[in-house]
């Protein structure tokens, strides 16, 4: 694993040099792809992670509503990640759990555990564009980033959150995505996403997501403490606050099956 990471770092350094020195020789599409590969590369090798998520939903009238979740993820070397999400609040859905095996191109495999009936139900993963728990986040906004999910175009450089950043346009490959495109700002220093603009199916600006208070874990992996999604069309917003991040805690594949789904807390 250590070897893998150092190889990844070498590769990252090589590609970085390529991007910065010979960018004139590349098309905007190639540059966009390379920057996005860098983002993925910089966030590879964390093996497993778990964290607590607090969602604060704000409506246009200023009313608040809270959701509390716990998310465990295990990295897969040859496939999309596996994740297990448990719901703690609102209280009427406490104990509900969600298991997802994501795939870069094919549909994800998803199961929902309903504690009142003790039932595990395989669900359709078609619903990418729908709101997650009534929030301004769609399911696809919360799924893991995979290179194959988009095509890319480098738009230029801009300073965002005080950081010199690449501006890349991403076009979802999946026809069931709720977006025609996303514009992503990635800082040049550590390839962290700083901001995303989402354009709806009519190609109108729908939402803006900003990442703040980045923190580095294991001297390598950056995670933002706070994400804020603002919907420009309905005036609603959702704040995501992450807590208790842990990486490489020794989670196993067996922590991501239907038995685990039924007992996870």
């Amino acid at each position: 694993m250590l070897n893998n990471i150092s190889i990844n770092k070498l590769a990252a350094a090589a590609v970085f040099t390529l991007v910065s020195t010979s960018s004139f020789a590349l098309t905007q599409e190639q540059q966009g792809l390379e920057i996005s590969q860098q983002v993925k590369q910089h966030d590879t090798g964390w093996t497993d992670s778990s964290a607590d998520m607090l969602m604060i939903l704000h409506n246009a009238q200023g009313q608040k509503s809270i959701r509390e979740l716990k998310i465990k993820t295990i990295e897969q070397l040859t496939d999309g990640d596996k994740s297990l999400t448990t719901f703690n609040k609102p209280r009427d859905v406490k104990g509900t759990a969600f298991l997802s095996f994501s795939h870069p191109v094919e549909a994800d495999d998803q199961w929902l555990y309903l504690p009142a009936l003790k039932r595990v139900k395989r669900i359709s993963s078609r619903n990418k564009s729908g709101p997650f728990m009534g929030s301004q986040f769609a399911f696809e906004d919360l799924s893991s980033f995979e290179i194959e999910k988009y095509s890319y175009k480098y738009l230029g450089d801009e300073v965002i959150n005080g950081l010199d950043s690449f501006k890349v346009e991403q076009y979802p490959v999946d026809p069931h995505s709720g977006y025609t495109r996303r514009i992503v700002w990635v800082d040049k220093e550590a390839y962290r996403i700083q901001k995303i603009d989402f354009y709806d199916r009519k190609n109108t600006l729908l939402k803006t997501l900003t990442y703040t208070s980045y923190r580095q874990y294991l001297n390598q992996y950056w995670r933002a403490d706070t994400l804020n999604m603002v919907n420009h069309q309905n005036g609603k917003s959702t704040e995501l606050k992450w807590k208790n991040y842990t990486f490489k805690s020794g989670l196993k594949d067996g922590d991501f099956n239907k038995n685990a789904l039924k007992r996870v807390r």
Binding site: L57, N59, S65, I66, K89, P90, R91, D92, V93, K94, G95, A107, D109, L117, K118, R119, V120, K121, R122, I123, S124, R126, N127, S129, G130, P131, M133, G134, H176, G178, K252, G254, N257, K258, N259, R263, R265
Partner: protein, 400 residues
């Protein structure tokens, strides 16, 4: 009394140990009322309203890095009209030990098997708590020893089930019952061991690509009693619990927006043997009318080799029946949902219709509304007993 004590225990534990990360306690209390549009068909049945309240707590304690845990879920319902519906149950009091490729679960638990929505044919481990609701989804806790092994060719569950639970039935004053109340105090068993018969079950389940598969064998006391008229006055029905062997299979194929579902059982008892199946689909359109709402369509068909009830044979209730349904989830902040369902017997006149709607209010309240309509002119059909029992039900739940 045990319920009061458990509530007291919860509050004590809450005040002393809530900071411990491996301890959790929560509860819900609810009040509900049914309103029947008509007078009952049978004497002594309650008139129009049936109010009550219920409470359920859940206490969870885990140690050894969550490899060992205990869960306790007591439940209690008070019904103002039907003394048989006033009841308590330990839904769960169990210990789980988790190892890398297996887990052991011991104690009182609930287990659900199956994939279809309108009938739960293969779901066989737990007894139905039929006084709670008539949809068969409320279950009594079952004592068990369950070893579950995880293999790369699927999960295998071994069950040892000591201590049979009798089905609950509406009492003399209750609605949603037949002409005579069921005498639950004098149940009769085929096995000489009676309630002490130790049942066995073995199940394999696996996910392969788009398919979720399950298959099992069950040997033991049939959860579904035969109701036999008593010889004594006043007229009542005596539950007779026979022994059975049952093979079951459940399959779901998940493809895009479609869920294809199939369940089937083969049951062998000393009196007869039969096969039954429930199959259908669920299709969901997401983001209808440019909103975040989902609209689902459900269709299922029930078949049973025993055929319809006649003078000569008891038959089966759901032997050639079609179910249609529609589910709307608004995916809003309040998680508002609406389900409409319709069942019709394709051989004779028998229909049922239901609406289930629910919505959260604030952070801790949930309000549900149900409507159920029954209509049959065939005396042999189970719905004819419920002809006067059309009702609405409103419930309010508070979560802690």
């Amino acid at each position: 009394m045990w319920f009061k004590w458990s509530l007291l225990t919860i509050s004590l534990l809450l005040s002393s140990a809530v900071t411990c990360s491996e301890f959790e306690a929560n509860a819900k209390v609810g009040a509900d009322s049914r309103y029947f549009f008509e007078q009952g068909q049978y004497p002594e049945q309650l008139e129009n309203t049936q109010p009550g309240f219920y409470a359920q707590a859940e206490i969870y304690y885990a140690w050894n890095n969550s490899a060992d845990s205990i869960t306790f879920i007591p439940y209690y319902r008070y019904d103002s009209e039907d003394s048989e519906r006033t009841h308590g149950d330990i839904r769960e009091l169990s210990y789980i030990h988790v190892s890398e490729n297996w887990e052991l679960r011991a104690g009182i638990r609930r287990v659900f098997w199956g994939v279809t929505e309108f009938q739960h044919l293969v779901d066989v481990i737990n007894q139905t708590d039929a006084v709670e609701d008539i949809d068969g989804e409320d279950k009594l806790g079952q004592l068990m020893l369950n070893l579950s092994t995880v293999n790369n060719w699927g999960i295998v569950d071994y069950y040892l089930l000591p201590g049979f639970r009798e089905r609950t039935f509406a009492g003399q004053n209750g609605r949603l019952r037949g002409p005579a109340a069921v005498d639950t105090d004098n149940a009769v068993y085929e096995s000489s061991a009676g309630k002490q018969h130790v049942d066995l079950a073995l199940r394999w389940s696996h996910s392969i690509g788009d398919f979720d598969l399950g298959s099992y064998w069950f040997h033991g006391t049939n959860r579904e009693p035969l109701l036999q008229p008593s010889s004594q006055e006043p007229q009542s029905l005596i539950p007779y619990y026979e022994q059975m062997d049952q093979l079951g299979i459940d399959i779901q194929a998940t493809s895009g927006a479609w869920l294809w579902k199939f369940e089937s059982i083969y049951r062998d008892t000393s009196k007869d043997n039969f096969a039954a199946a429930q199959a259908g689909f669920e299709y969901t359109s997401v983001g209808i009318f440019d909103s975040g709402a989902d609209l689902g369509w459900l269709m299922e068909y029930a078949w049973d080799s025993r055929g319809q009830a006649s003078e000569a044979s008891r038959g089966a209730d759901l032997q050639n029946d079609l179910f249609l349904g529609s589910r709307i989830a608004l995916n809003d902040v309040q998680s508002s949902e609406l389900l409409i369902g319709f069942r019709t017997d394709m051989e004779h006149h028998s229909n049922t219709f239901l609406i289930e709607a629910n919505r959260r209010f604030g952070d801790n309240y949930k309000v549900s509304f149900d409507l159920r309509l029954f209509d049959s002119n065939q005396p042999q059909d189970f719905v004819s007993m419920l002809n006067n029992d059309d009702h609405i039900q409103l419930s309010v739940e508070r979560y802690f």
